[in-house]
Symmetry: C2
Subunit: 231 residues, 2 copies
């Protein structure tokens, strides 16, 4: 059984808005809708768990899941203070018999079904997989405002979501992280700490994380062009 | 004397277009126009050298420099095979008495006068400066399709242009690179090889390098909002 956890629990304070960014309208619908739809339509995914800000469960159930008939949603649960706590809240309620888990940021509305399939397929085979794209700019390591090192761009990847894992691996990775007080915003980093190899599959430059108003405008633009999730 | 070299010599083959991308229309004008205008309007810049694809000198002179009255352009020269060769072609024709050089990619049309000033000021003081922004995604080092290392995001910066240098430093850096057969697409990397410290100033997330049709659409969107270069 394959379960996707859609993480949409951020308070969105950085965005300077009262409404958390994952619920801001884009293309006429709340941003979170597009991620839910992509995973709902992906035949490799059996069910969805949606993690939302505490108190928003009913809103998401009524205004997203029921309104747009996202049939594969199994649970809507409240998230925690940090992203890691929200993923953990999702992991705790995944249906039994789940063997493969995908974890996706609700703030990446342009994820394609193709990317979901590619990541799930690689994780099924190897245990852990993430999508990545080459950085557009030269990347340097900086210390005290001065360049410490120019990194070899050809060996770098910018990591996106969904990230996918065997259920037992991601559970153990989370257990270890909590036991040791390790906090990260990247799920694969927890799995790497466990000593597992994480495979990287080709991501999609359009699968951006919306963090600014410019990002939202970019997503609006692409949605106006067509059904981006299904390309 | 401060001279800016605007590098716009790419053949633009990756863009899948007959017209090099720096001449594609955006906001009703060739993309290169916006960089030329930003540097022309920046009071800290005394003159511009524009490096263009061989055979395009007259087109740029007539359709950009004269048409839009970019008064501070001193030279239009043909570039070489690699970006590094094009910058070198520009360095060879900068006006005498130039003490400070800014090098800018013509494919970054949204550069602001504020960024140009900040980079020039830091380079004047320290010898070498570049603008950088924090990466949006987790960045990992990858080997053979597997994660080798998750990098500490807080110490990484994505480097943009303009980059600015004392004239004698960038000249020596280029001389050393050619003597040793070292090729890079990042000018600061050549200066780092010389043993100089490169300072990083705050860049602007909007100062993207246009490499895809999506990037061009994003720039078009922002230009429609107003005079982005002068914010």
């Amino acid at each position: 059984l394959t379960t996707a956890i859609i993480v949409a629990a951020g308070a969105g304070k950085r965005f300077g808005n009262q409404v958390p960014k994952q619920f801001l309208p884009v293309g006429g619908k709340p941003m979170l809708y597009y991620s839910l739809r992509a995973f709902d339509r992906c035949s490799d995914v059996d069910g969805l768990v949606v993690v939302v800000p505490p108190g928003r469960e009913e809103y998401v159930d009524k205004e997203l899941v029921r309104r747009y008939n996202i049939a594969s949603v199994r649970q809507i649960v409240a998230g925690g203070n940090e992203r890691q706590d929200s993923v953990e809240a999702g992991l705790e309620v995944v249906p039994s018999h789940t063997t493969l888990i995908a974890i996706h940021d609700g703030a990446r509305p342009l994820v394609t079904i193709g990317t979901i399939q590619a990541v799930l397929s690689a994780a099924d085979k190897h245990g852990a997989a993430v999508p990545g794209v080459s950085p557009k700019d030269t990347t340097k390591r900086v210390l005290d405002g001065k360049v410490a090192e120019t990194l070899d761009r050809s060996s770098l990847v910018c990591i996106q979501t969904p990230q996918a894992f065997h259920y037992d691996i991601i559970r153990r990775a989370y257990k270890k992280a909590y036991a040791e007080g390790f906090v990260a915003t990247d799920d694969a980093a927890l799995v790497e700490r466990l000593g597992y190899t994480v495979h990287v599959v080709q991501g999609d430059p359009r699968n951006v994380k919306v963090t600014t108003a410019d990002d939202l405008a970019f997503v609006e633009l692409l949605l106006a062009e067509g059904d981006v999730n299904c390309e």
